[in-house]
């Protein structure tokens, strides 16, 4: 994976450094392998972390070999800031294992797919985006479209923009990324973050790539504080209380077989961190299409609607209201419906970015409501 980058850098001629580099490479490989063993698909967090370690090693002649522990990350950032070495040119290995060099702080950035564009916008750097995909135009005031609506991107439009960095979300974009690399643009292909921690890492990384390292670190740290406040409270509650059963409905294009969420989705991670349990935690795929029977049978205590009439915006299509959900055939038997706990949430709440911490807070509030009602029911 990210190991290829280590052997190419010729700056370190002497024997000691070669051994050092080798040992760091082995260590990074071990981290990646351990992560692969723990989880079937390697989390993007680890990949991002590994690539950061790479870059760090490239920049410095002495490496701290314990850097792979998460608790050292903050310290690592501080160390980097203390160093007077120039940040650029910056050589990195991206999440697809390919190396890139960013010669100077990029001012003309092309970002493709909302999961990347939103992170740049969260950092307050959207004005550097000169080209984005069709879905992200609202988030980037200075940018023109480079395609995306029919899952193809226009390499000519990108070449015309002459970007000094291209950020691409992995997933159906591989061919385009390759075309851009052949034109010698620096391309960073970014894995889809599969956890909140991975999102924080990506914020740091993008900050660093854009020459705004402190800004990225500060935002990530702020989000981490809010994240910890909620998750620690939820963890404390879960010592004594059962988790609240949550059903989250993403889309009801086929009303009788709605899409919910399953393992591998950020939604499920957030529900669990907030003290709930996804009723479809054992389903196949991140966004399973489920039937009403299994929903009624699972008897959720809290229903969250992502495509609601209450919070519809111009992107909503055929939304449904909480009242309509309650009137579905057979749904009157569900605890959440009986308790009036059908809660609309904004449709874009779970999109990748700083908003995910808002999502965590909103879900935690809803779960707190459900807990209060459950306690009342038990008392009565």
């Amino acid at each position: 994976m990210g190991v290829r980058g280590y052997t190419i850098e010729p700056a370190f001629g002497n024997q000691r450094n070669i051994w050092l580099l080798l040992s760091v490479a082995v260590l990074a490989l071990a981290v990646v392998l351990a992560a692969c063993g723990a989880d079937d698909d390697p989390p993007a967090a680890v990949a991002a972390e590994a690539s950061q370690t790479t870059a760090t090693t490239d920049d410095r002649s002495s490496g701290d070999e314990d850097e792979d522990q998460p608790s050292n990350e903050v310290q690592e950032e501080v160390e980097e800031q203390e160093q007077a070495l120039p940040d650029f040119p910056l050589t990195l290995t991206d999440d697809s294992g390919l190396e890139l060099t960013i010669p100077a702080a990029p001012l003309r950035v092309v970002a493709i797919l909302p999961s990347v564009v939103d992170l740049v916008a969260d950092l307050g750097l959207a004005d550097r985006l000169v080209g984005v995909d069709d879905f992200s135009l609202d988030d980037a005031p200075n940018a023109v479209s480079v395609g995306g609506n029919n899952f193809t991107f226009n390499i000519e439009a990108v070449a015309e923009l002459q970007p000094d960095l291209i950020l691409i979300a992995i997933g159906g974009t591989e061919d385009f990324a390759q075309q851009a690399r052949e034109l010698n643009f620096p391309v960073y292909a970014m894995g889809f973050p599969d956890s909140l921690q991975a999102v924080f890492q990506q914020l740091r990384l993008i900050g660093r790539m854009l020459g705004e390292e402190q800004r990225g670190a500060a935002l990530a740290a702020e989000l981490e504080d809010r994240f910890l406040a909620i998750t620690q409270r939820a963890a404390a509650e879960s010592q004594s209380l059962e988790p609240i059963r949550v059903y989250l409905e993403v889309d009801q294009s086929t009303p009788t077989q709605p899409f919910s969420i399953g393992p591998g989705s950020l939604h499920q991670e957030i529900i669990e961190l907030a003290g709930g349990v996804n009723v479809f935690a054992s389903a196949q795929g991140s966004f399973p299409q489920v039937n009403w029977e299994s929903i009624i049978d699972a008897d959720p205590q809290l229903i969250l609607l992502l495509n609601s009439k209450e919070l519809a915006d111009e992107l909503s299509f055929n939304p449904i209201s909480a009242a309509e959900v309650a009137q579905r055939i057979g749904w009157g038997e569900i605890s959440a419906v009986q308790d009036g706990l059908v809660t609309p949430l904004p449709g874009d709440l779970f999109s990748v970015g700083a908003r995910l911490v808002d999502a965590l807070e909103r879900v935690a509030e809803a779960i707190a409501d459900a807990r209060a009602l459950t306690a009342q029911d038990d008392a009565a």
Binding site: N150, D251, S253, Q289, V290, E293, N318, G330
Partner: protein, 371 residues
Amino acid sequence: MTTQLPLPRQLPRLAGRRLFAAPGLRSVVLLYGTGALLLVLAIAGATAVGSASISFGDTLRILIDSLPLIEVDQTWTNAEATILREIRLPRVVSAALVGAALSASGVLFQGVFRNPLVDPFIIGASSGAAFAAVIGFLIAPQAGFIIYGFSWVPALAFVGSLVTVLLVYFLARADGRVAVTTLLLAGVAVGAFLTAAMSFLMLTQSDSQFRLGAIFSWLLGGVGTVGWDQFLLLGPFVGIGLLVARALAQPLNAMSLGEEHAHALGVSVERTKLVLIAASSLMTAAAVAAAGLVAFVGLVTPHAVRLVIGPDHRRLLWAATLYGAIFVVLADLAARTILTPTEIPLGVITGIVGGPFFLLLLRRARGHYVF
């Protein structure tokens, strides 16, 4: 030019209603009796199994309790009763309806076209329904349009299916006649056009992976019925279609000898063709509205049944109806239980199970298959 085509020697007269030897009473009882029994068992079995685990005893008690004038002491929860009565049973029965409709219209289409490769979707029923359904998924107005349990997608699919078949029929019509070859080719051409238009809509109008996911799973078929409204509305179409088809089974037998022969036997070929296509298209449209595009059932069930009982349409129609219903009830059972709670598209199951089963039958017939 009008040389009299030689008639097969033992061709009985149609007036005597003896085109094919009448089946013996015993074999009829055996065929239909077994089929009906299997269908009841399949429906009962499929109703007892689902992602909610309800014991077989409770299933029976709930069903018996649902009958008028019978009270059973409640040993089940209200949620279990709701799941059985309002969700599972309507779905299982709708699956039976879909299987019956597709198999029966498969028999009729194959008979009318005298072509073993034909299925109910051949003259535009599927592409028209798919195009209209995609409009329902992507473009239909925001209002939560629901009428008699129908949202936009099934309603538009039903209309789109019928309108397209009608269009193809009149495109293929010349001098008051519709040649089956022209009809087939017109169907293929219109189908290609609509499929391309549908793909274009899907690529340009969809802004959400979920909407695309919903479209794909609709295109692969799946019984999405909840409650009884849809079944009660679509059932009559299938019932009427079946009765009309049965009334014309004997003329259809005559047409299987060739349209000239059928004409010589006194069959009004063009009118029979029109009525049969209308009846089977109604049944197909009803099936499409209830379950999307369930592939393979309408193609293979008629062949499988024909391999066993021969080509007489009078028997073939009812047998295909029964066994098609059984096939789809069981396939739907698999679709909703294999990966529960995730739904597998029904067409995936019918293809994976039906294909090898049909090949097995074909091998066992050892080339003696009479179409």
